[in-house]
Symmetry: C2
Subunit: 312 residues, 2 copies
């Protein structure tokens, strides 16, 4: 049993609460706290030194990343973030200057998005720094796109360019909050997720939740400059197109809309967000599975999107 | 600068949000999410292996403790807990059975108090287990006792018996949720806090926030059997009465009510909670500082309550 399977098993029979609209398994939990117009979003996310960031990283960028990951989950629900609590677990000989810089990075991003940091705690983790952020937000009731809403015939879109985030973007990315809210206000978004585990894996989460399949167009996948540079930098690196399909931490949005909305959406997007690319990368199919179409034809994509692209 | 001072400095100028009723510095943040009758409580708390629990501890008890600490904070606001997210940071070679037992402990306590566990995540902390719980709850608007509400002349009460929690109670304690709600429904509770850092330290949090002092009656402090046993067990142990004043993790409630309510409260409490001791341990004074009165007179108590009691 791998970790994902174990957690699925452990969380299958958790206690519930009547005000839970969406529990474990989407980007945020969705809760009803009595406002007739809005629902409450609830999410936590942790970053760990040596795993999600290197020990020598500027702590302001670490603080930015810790909060931005949660904000990206709120974006995936087309929400507005409101309040955060910050848990810092640090070695006993922690450096005051380090924590000041960390809070500076957190606070700058929080202020930019109107998020109140309303507390938290500092505790001890002797060997390394761990930062866990708990986030609250709200969304318009009935306008919260879930992973489970994709329908056969939908067009699949992604924002930005994919792959190579480890070169730097994973620390500095901007959560797509304004874009997500604009999307649900102007178009019937059926499903949405933020890309944290890589396009191939995250799209599979949508397909599984929606009980559908998808066909991607190889040439339509937007490949980032960082993915191309990383691919060129060493002979052993994965090809840039594989990186775009499989690298984690892009924190772009993937969403689906009915296919007849695809062209109007692309037109409206260019006017609303001229500086951010939007790509239609494929379509949702009734047949399960994830396939990739290119000039050679159509073939299944593995979970990691990787094996079929490796050169022999 | 010590840790507490550093965190106070770091959190003094955090970004705010207009719906924040109470931010950092009380047992929970208190937020307005649009329900005219109720406010929302928001809190996180983490436990770390080797610090808050020993490596060999039954994981079900660890799970219980991780959730119970957050529930105790909700109790201190006279709230009703509703939803939790659980972050497990575990070494890569984690044991599936361990996590199952941990979730069993968490789930049993959550179900007992009607808390929905609506998600969370598992991440890697290579050297030790860390469990962070993010908690939401609600409270009746206008019936949330803060640390800042104590007034000169108030009587100071504590539930249960104090000291020696490390002998076992810190893993198995029952958060005083029902008692706290009963209190605010029946009596004008001015201030309330849960005892996590020890009576002397936590009372000082109330005194500082309320800008008042307090005089405790030495003989009225309820000393637990565990504190007496620990004191007897070794010559170097602190005396039981010092343990009751200074040991952490009692997770009992400390609160103040106008002194004229003290006798009616004690009478009503005995009927409502015949199995849980309630002690009036002193009074709030206009003069700042914390003093202890016994047969020898009245003398100041140090932050830790300790020095003045040590035998020469």
């Amino acid at each position: 049993m791998n970790e994902v399977e174990l957690i699925e098993q452990l969380t299958r029979h958790l206690p519930g609460h009547p005000s839970t609209l969406v529990g474990a398994g989407d980007d945020c939990a969705v809760l009803d706290f009595g406002d007739p117009g809005r629902v409450v979003l609830f999410k936590t996310d942790a970053v760990v030194e040596g795993i999600h960031f290197e020990a020598g990283t500027d702590p302001a960028r670490v603080g930015h990343k810790a909060l931005a990951r949660c904000l990206s989950d709120v974006a995936a629900m087309a929400g507005t973030p409101t309040h955060a609590l910050v848990t810092l677990a640090v070695p006993a000989d922690f450096d005051a200057r380090y924590l000041e810089r960390l809070y500076a990075g957190l606070s700058e991003l929080a202020a930019k998005h109107g998020v109140g940091i309303v507390g938290g705690e500092t505790t001890t983790n002797p060997e390394r720094i761990l930062i866990s952020v708990a986030m609250l937000g709200t969304a318009v009731r009935g306008q919260c796109p879930l992973r489970s809403g994709a329908k056969p015939g939908d067009a699949v879109f992604v924002t930005g360019e994919l792959g190579g985030a480890r070169a730097g973007k994973h620390l500095d990315f901007e959560p797509r909050l304004a874009q997500a809210r604009w999307l649900v206000e102007h178009f019937p978004v059926h499903a949405m997720i933020d890309l944290s585990d890589g396009l191939a894996r995250d799209l599979r989460h949508v397909l599984k939740a929606s009980q559908v399949g998808a066909e991607l167009l190889d040439e339509a996948i937007p490949i980032s400059r960082a993915a191309r540079q990383t691919a060129r930098a060493s002979a052993g690196a994965k090809p840039a197109r594989v990186a775009a399909l499989t690298d984690g931490e892009d924190f772009e949005l993937l969403f689906t809309v009915p296919s007849r909305q695809a062209v109007p959406l692309l037109d409206a997007w260019k006017k609303a967000f001229p500086d951010l690319k939007l790509s239609c990368i494929g379509k949702i199919t009734a047949a399960p599975g994830l396939t990739l179409r290119n000039k050679q034809g159509r073939r299944p994509l593995t979970v990691d999107g990787y094996v079929h692209f490796q050169k022999p």
